[in-house]
Structures are given as structure tokens and as C-alpha cells.
Assembly symmetry: C2
Homo-oligomer: 340 residues x 2
């Protein structure tokens, strides 16, 4: 920067002002500065900038598992939002591990991240407190912990999930099983509640063994389906807390020589990109990544830039059923006992 100043024959203050687009700079000087910048290949040092200005222009996003395709899609949308507002993002993948989560929080604190979107489950209270202590604006899915500068994005799980249940019922299903997400994950519990409620509305009763604990992974879906296969009476449809689970279920169904949807219907949740490419293409409840990312980012921005902006629109994300070909009229399932 000094070199640029020397070459342009101005002070470093002028260089700084030029680069930051402060309008009070004489055009001629500015031209000289830009020329020098080009000539020297000067690149501003982000750390120095952040140090002196106290603004890192960094937004954190904490996710549980980068390996679940939903999250890369979310990250991509979120990054887009960030770039458009001249922010960068810091990705923290916790991999459901509390030590990793701690490392994450450390990084966020050390890098003076300005806001964090927590798109994962039950972050432990003490860790949360560490963020809150620095007064970092936080945005969550579903739950807003107490405290200032905290927002929650409300996802309307009911809309899509009750649509899904209705769809199944209309098709003639009565024995509907559910494979839930990881315990303690709020967004997963909200989905399950929405499912149970939709069932009640449709006056459908299912045995205890039809609601199964999953973990939002392919393996979890497979395990869930495996235990369903041990039921005395097989369900005719399975709803899953996310698409990965559903893919695991379809895999296990195929292993057991059950045809989807003739023998068993499957519904997922999220509508990840790959969902339309499964065999058969997966019927699923769509939750828009873009909407979610947008809402999360806007919430943070509002807390960051305070009263200058008007309050962002409702932080609500809709969900909607997408019917593909993994659901159909219940057929005549072979008994799994002879099949495994």
C-alpha cells in the first residue's frame, strides 16, 4: 500500500480512500491510484482491514453434516446471499460431534465473525452462551433461544406434511409409518409433530412400532426400514424426516424385494436435488433452500445493520408436497419373512 502511495505520489490515506470508494477523492488522484494498484498488482490485506475497522465481514453458518446433500445446497444459497451483500461465509460442520462443535465456536469467536446462522441441532447451551456473550447475532431454525439479537426462522412444516399425509390417505393408505430424525434436533421433532398431528386430523391410528427413531442418514433410513420389516403387519407407506432417510428406506425395501410404490409407498422431506433421480423418483415435501438461506441471511443482516434497514419480511419458509413416483395405491405386499 505504501508502494502504491509512492507510485501514485499521494498519501496512503488517499489510497485507502480511493480503494474504499470514498467520494471525496479528486478524480485525477484516484486515477493515479488505480493505475498504481493495477501496475503493482496490489491486493488489500483483509486481516489488517478487519483488525483496524473491527468488521470482519464474515458470517458463520453452522451445519451438522456437510455430507448430507441438503447442506451443500443450503450453503450454496447462503453464500450467494452473502456475496451479494459483500460478506464472506465461514462454514462450520459439526458432524454431530460436540468436540467439533466446540472447535467451530472457537473459530467463529477467534475470527470475529459478525453473525451466525445455526442450521443444526441442539447446540449445547454453554456453547451458545459463549456466542451470546459476544453479542453476536444468531439465527436459528424453529427455535429462538432467549436473548437479544436472536431470531428464529419459522418453517411451516405442517403445510407440506399434512399435504403428504392427505395424499397418502387419498391413495388409500391407512398403515403409515414414520422414520424420524435425530433425537434432540428441533427441526426433526417439529416434522414428527406435524406428522402425528396430520394423522390425528385424518383420524388414522398407527401402532407404536410404526414411529421409528432415525438419524437423517442413509444408514439410518435403512435401519429404520429393516425394523419396520419385522412388524407383524407391514405398513403400506413410510414417511421420512428427510430425503436421505427415504433413500435408505427405498434401498432396504429393494433388498427385501418390496416394490416401491406397489408394495410400499415412500415419502421424503427436503427435496434435495437427487430426489428426482432416484428409482422411482421420490415423492417428497419440498423446503426451499433459497428461501431458508434468504430468510436466515436477512435476519442476521437486520440485527447487524440495525435500524437502518426495515425489518425483513416474515421469517417464514413454506413447505409443499412434490408428488413423484414413489407413492401409489397400496398393493399387496409379500410378507417380508420369506424375503430377507
Amino acid at each position: 500500500m505504501r508502494a502504491v502511495a509512492k507510485l501514485a505520489n499521494v498519501s496512503i490515506a488517499t489510497v485507502s480512500r480511493t480503494i474504499n470508494g470514498i467520494l471525496t477523492v479528486n478524480d485525477e488522484y484516484a486515477a493515479r491510484v488505480w493505475k498504481a494498484v493495477k501496475h503493482l498488482g496490489y491486493i488489500p490485506n483483509t486481516q489488517a482491514r478487519a483488525l483496524v475497522s473491527g468488521r470482519s465481514r464474515l458470517i458463520g453458518i453452522i451445519i451438522s453434516d456437510i455430507t448430507n446433500p441438503f447442506f451443500p445446497e443450503l450453503i450454496q444459497s447462503f453464500e450467494e446471499e452473502a456475496i451479494n451483500s459483500n460478506y464472506e461465509i465461514l462454514i462450520g460442520s459439526t458432524a454431530y460431534d460436540s468436540r467439533r462443535m466446540e472447535i467451530c465456536i472457537d473459530r467463529i469467536l477467534q475470527r470475529k465473525v459478525e453473525g451466525v446462522a445455526v442450521m443444526t441441532f441442539g447446540i449445547e447451551e454453554p456453547l451458545l452462551d459463549r456466542l451470546a456473550a459476544q453479542n453476536i447475532p444468531l439465527v436459528f431454525i424453529d427455535v429462538a433461544p432467549k436473548g437479544r439479537a436472536m431470531s428464529a426462522i419459522k418453517v411451516d412444516y405442517r403445510a407440506g406434511i399434512s399435504e403428504a399425509v392427505l395424499h397418502l390417505v387419498a391413495l388409500g393408505h391407512q398403515r403409515i409409518a414414520y422414520i424420524a430424525g435425530p433425537e434432540g434436533l428441533h427441526s426433526a421433532e417439529a416434522r414428527k409433530d406435524a406428522f402425528l398431528e396430520a394423522l390425528k386430523t385424518s383420524k388414522i391410528k398407527i401402532p407404536k412400532s410404526y414411529t421409528i427413531q432415525g438419524d437423517h442418514t442413509l444408514e439410518g433410513g435403512m435401519a429404520g426400514m429393516r425394523s419396520l420389516l419385522r412388524s407383524k403387519v407391514l405398513p403400506t407407506a413410510v414417511m421420512c424426516s428427510n430425503d436421505m432417510t427415504a433413500i435408505g428406506v427405498m434401498h432396504m425395501a429393494a433388498e427385501a424385494r418390496l416394490r416401491v410404490p406397489e408394495d410400499i409407498s415412500v415419502i421424503g422431506f427436503d427435496d434435495i436435488h437427487i430426489a428426482r433421480f432416484t428409482i422411482p423418483p421420490l415423492t417428497t415435501v419440498r423446503m426451499s433452500c433459497q428461501e431458508l438461506a434468504h430468510a436466515a441471511f436477512e435476519a442476521i443482516r437486520f440485527n447487524l445493520e440495525g435500524g437502518t434497514k426495515k425489518k425483513p419480511g416474515r421469517l417464514e419458509v413454506k413447505t409443499k408436497l412434490t408428488v413423484r413416483r414413489s407413492t401409489g395405491v397400496p398393493g399387496n405386499p409379500a410378507h417380508p419373512r420369506d424375503l430377507i
Copy 2:
């Protein structure tokens, strides 16, 4: 930090030394410092640290598409490597877009990243030069551009791919098609070359229309298969440049009422996690993310920490066929004309 020093009744230099684990610090002082750190909840400021020490402890990883599940897996492994060596990673996803790529490079330069793993395709020369100009160690897959501090990881595509072709031939296939990756992507071209070579070794000749340009996406695989379906004589097997392509192919095959593997066998490449969950489970050539990440990281570290470390072992990643159930003895394909 000043506050910590005051509370512990030592100088800030001692605080710095304590925190950085420099051994010359009196135990008693160190204890006082740590206590003060805890008490005040002190968090070192990474930017200031990086600024003064000139070391950002940041390693960049440039990938083409975070939405392709192979890359998140790679990122996860790479991050693991980095964390173990007390580095952090900066993820740059270019999304096959040259403006995004440029933003990526800017970020890398601005943040004074110490080394970069380029795990994507034909980064444009001028951009590359910008990195080279700063003498940032770079590691590539397959190709090493000229210049110092550049390494290339050699992937032994031949091993796995010739295994795959042999597997197909042993099964009785003679009409084998290939759906390649994006043009200009070196790793994709190397795979294609390995395929063509294996074909020659097995003395198999295929028509021009059997080698198709793809783009490593689900859609690309689908499109590739669609054009294969228009062949006068259908191939009995399709090899794909990556697993996503293969999944797209299987989807399209199913759409056309072709059974996999009875009517057509499919082989992928990468062995992403989901590959074993497709229906049928995908036969694919495994390339280990961990190995790749490890090799890339070691190469950078070697260039960074110079002579102090011994040269890393050979930067070579093996590939190996994993036989699942998408390949079988060629059957009796129905003609696609009546099926689409």
C-alpha cells in the same frame, strides 16, 4: 489481552508466550495467566495474530461444485487433515463459473492463504499466474503446471478403470459405451484415456457414438443415456466418468424401461457414499477421498514447511473396482424405439 496481563500481573509479552505455549515461561506466571484468561473469557484475535506473524494458517481448497457429493466428502477429509496440523481451510466453490473462480482467487489472495489445493478443472492461466505470483504453494490433481512450489497428485486411473473394463468383458460385454466428464477437466480426460486404452488392450472396438460428452452431473448422465438410447444398436454396458453421471444414467434407463443390469450394465467412478444405496447398488471405481486429501495436504505442507520435513511419500492415489449389482451378464435389451 492487556486486561489479561493486568489481571495476571504480568506483561502482555508473557501472556502471548503463555498462550503460544512457549516453554520459557515460569509455571507460576503461566498459571496466573491461564486463570486470568479463563476469568475474562479472553479469545485471541486471529486477524491480529496473522497480521503480525505473517502466517494466516489458512489453506485454500478450490472445488468445482459443492453440490456434487464427492466434494463434500473430499472437503471433510481435507479439513480433518488441516485441523490435525492446526490449519484452517477456506473453501472456494467455483460452480464452473469463471467469475466465481475469480472471486475465489481474490479471497485467497486477500486472506493471505498459505497454500491451495486445486481440485477442479482447467483454472484459467491468468488466474493461476496471480497465485503463482505470490509464490503460494499449489497442488493439483493430475497436472502440474510449470513453476516452483507446484505439485501434482498422480491418480492411477488405469488400475481401476482397466479392472472395470475387464470385469465387463469377463461378463461378456462387447458393446461398452462411455460418458465422459466436462471438456477441459484434466481428471476427466485422464479417465477417458484410461478407458480407451483398456478397450484397446481388450481388443474391443466401439462406434464413435458410444463415447459421449458429459458434465459430471445427474442431468448430464441422463442426457448421455438419452442419446445412447437413440443408437441403432444399444450398448450392453455404460461406463461413466463419475458416480453422479452413473446415477443419471440409471435414472434414464429406468425411464426407458431398461432394467439394470439385465438390459444394461452401469459402472460409475468415485464411489461416493450414496453409491451403495442406489437401486441396484452401483458398481464403481473407488478413489479414496482420504488418500487424495492426505496427499494434497502433505504436498502443500512440504512446500510450506520446506526442508524441515522429509519429502512426503509418493503422491499417488490408487483406484480400485468395487463390484456391486449394477453390472451383470448382458441380456436381451428391448429396442428402445418402442419404449421412449
